[in-house]
């Protein structure tokens, strides 16, 4: 499978270089390009730092900016960034309010962020928040839910809260509370093709779908017959509703996210289906977001995220944000 790249081993660096050049008004590389930070930091505000493997763009670099992250670290494709990158982000962005490390719940990410936090702890106030929203992995006893598209919802809400002056400890608690309220399920019609391999991570037949996929090109929870968008949306929404349990109250944010190779028209079609299904289950869709935000390289797939929020949390969602991938609200206040 062809890609718009030159060489597999330089793809991530070349792509990031283009990204920073395109958004130089918002963000910049920190020295030695170990991470990407906001152009201007707000003294005393707790710094929000996230990161993960490349291949999920625009996550996380696309969410660096006012109202969201202060820094993001990118590893190799589907590979956690290294502790020295994370340490550089901590050292660059801690302006006295400490740092919250937002870590998607994968062993590799956890261990690398942990080592960075250990190395930083003498000089910085560092807290870690593990995010996991993937309901397909909710039965993994020891490891728990993976962090997938819902991660960006957490980053948006915490970013707005930090901008309003919330303390590091309070941000961490809010993040922990949000983990109980955000539910995602993904499906793929075609696997991702990793640059080094130039073939899909899994191959599906013409009538198959992979359901419960994560964002690393890995196979999902099961392979099923693909009989159209409606049945796929139904399977995902049912699973999300089941996972919601007692959290299934009144109003929610619905995020339909493309996994990289899915065009906008198909995302909106899935959004329409999911919305109807959730509404039929008594959920009012109070906020919506449709687009390609958390990808698995060029995977042809979609994820559906339901975030059951309270009024204060909706207000955080509505608060101004000015990043490469998410932008709304008055910019004067940024």
């Amino acid at each position: 499978m062809k890609k718009f790249m030159n060489r597999a081993d330089t793809m991530v660096a070349e792509s990031l270089e283009g990204f920073v050049a395109a958004h130089e008004d918002i963000l910049m590389f920190c020295p030695q390009r170990k991470c990407i930070t906001r152009r201007s930091l707000k003294p005393g505000k707790p710094a929000l730092i996230s990161g993960g493997g490349a291949g999920h763009e625009p996550l996380h670099v696309g969410f660096v900016g006012h109202g969201m992250l202060d820094a993001a670290c990118t590893g190799h494709i589907f590979t956690s960034p290294t502790p020295d990158q994370i340490l550089a982000a901590i050292e660059t962005t801690d302006t006295g309010g400490g740092c919250l490390l937002i870590v998607k719940n994968y062993d590799g990410d956890i261990m690398n962020f942990e080592m960075a936090a250990e190395a930083a702890k003498d000089r910085h106030d560092v807290e870690m928040l593990f995010v996991g929203d993937d309901v397909a992995s909710r039965h993994s006893k020891k490891t728990g839910k993976r962090g997938v598209a819902g991660t960006m919802v957490t980053e948006k809400l915490l970013g707005a809260a930090a901008e309003r002056g919330m303390s590091l400890q309070a941000l961490r608690s809010l993040g922990t509370e949000l983990a109980e309220r955000i539910f995602t399920m993904g499906v793929a019609l075609r696997g991702a093709s990793v640059p080094e391999l130039r073939r899909p991570t899994f191959t599906l037949g013409p009538d198959e779908m992979e359901i419960g996929v994560g964002i690393h090109g890995e196979a999902g929870r099961s392979r099923q017959v693909y009989s159209g968008a409606e049945a796929a949306a139904r399977a995902m929404c049912d699973e999300i509703l089941a996972a919601c349990g007692s959290h299934l109250t009144g109003r929610a944010l619905l995020l339909v996210n493309g996994l990289g190779g899915t065009p906008p028209a198909e995302l909106y079609l899935m959004y329409g289906l999911a919305r109807r299904m959730f509404e039929a289950a008594g959920v009012e869709i109070a906020r919506s977001l449709v687009g390609t935000f958390v990808t698995s390289l060029d995977m042809q797939g979609v994820s559906i995220t339901l975030a059951v929020l309270n009024e204060g949390q909706f207000a955080l969602w509505d608060a101004p944000v000015h990043t490469a991938a998410l932008r709304w609200g008055n910019e004067e206040r940024c």
Binding site: G53, G75, H76, I77, F78, T79, S80, P81, T82, P83, D84, Y106, D107, G108, M111, N112, E114, M115, D134, A136, S137, H139, S140, K141, K142, T143, R146, V194, E196, L197, T201, G214, H216, G217, E218, A219, R221, S222
Partner: protein, 223 residues
């Protein structure tokens, strides 16, 4: 003579790096079945970073424990992934074990295997049966202890270590993963060997070739 023991270690890392790189595609394919298809890439990258870092130092003025420290930071900064922190912690613990006695004696070699295993376990919070690299390393460490207890020679100790690791790695095929990315696959991880266990066998076999060959003491390794 720090130089000679240090040279052996540096040679060991070269050998590991070469053999991992040779098996890169197989490891990546194993990871493709139950993970994200990069284990060969991350391991090869990590060990190549180690050897290129070691190529820069003066082996005659570096202690064996320092070699492990250098390896830890080179591996960590090159890799990311799960394996970065796991092997970096393993190498750090090996360095601590060697600090007491830098000769790299048979007892030191056994201590290195044990310390590395303890490091992996500490960092990854895993245990036997989780279908990870620990399913090779824990039996290997047990074999090292056993060989020391019965005062076995180098070649016997190392064959028992590698044999235990191989048996352990093979056993991962019939395990359901409980750690790492594969854990999210549940039952679907059955039938596949864990890539981290497979690379552990390659590492241990390269260590065996370094330490157990008859004339290994005299051998001069390319740096």
């Amino acid at each position: 003579m720090p130089g000679s023991a240090t040279r052996r270690l540096s040679g060991m890392f070269n050998r590991i790096s070469n053999e991992i790189t040779e098996e890169k595609d197989r490891l990546t394919a194993l990871d493709g079945a139950i993970g994200d298809a990069d284990h060969g890439i991350t391991m090869s990258l990590g060990f190549m970073a180690v050897t290129s870092e070691l190529a820069r130092i003066d082996l005659d003025h570096t202690l064996p424990s320092a070699v492990f420290r250098i390896a830890a930071s080179a591996f960590l900064n090159a890799v990311g992934a799960s394996t970065g922190p796991l092997y970096a912690t393993a190498f750090l613990r090996a360095a601590q074990a060697l600090e007491k006695d830098e000769r790299l004696s048979l007892a030191d070699q056994a201590a290195v295997v044990e310390a590395m295993t303890a490091g992996i376990q500490q960092r990854g919070k895993g245990q036997l049966g989780d279908k990870t690299m620990l399913d090779a390393w824990i039996p290997a460490a047990d074999a090292a202890m056993g060989a020391r207890a019965r005062d076995a020679g180098a070649s016997e100790m190392w064959s028992s270590i590698v044999e235990a690791a191989e048996t352990g790695a093979n056993a991962t095929r019939s395990m359901v993963a409980a750690r790492g990315r594969a854990a999210r696959l549940g039952e679907r991880s059955l039938g596949h060997m864990d890539p981290g266990a497979a690379s552990a066998v390659i590492i241990l076999r390269a260590m065996m070739k370094t330490f157990a060959s008859e004339n290994s003491r005299e051998q001069v390794f390319p740096s």
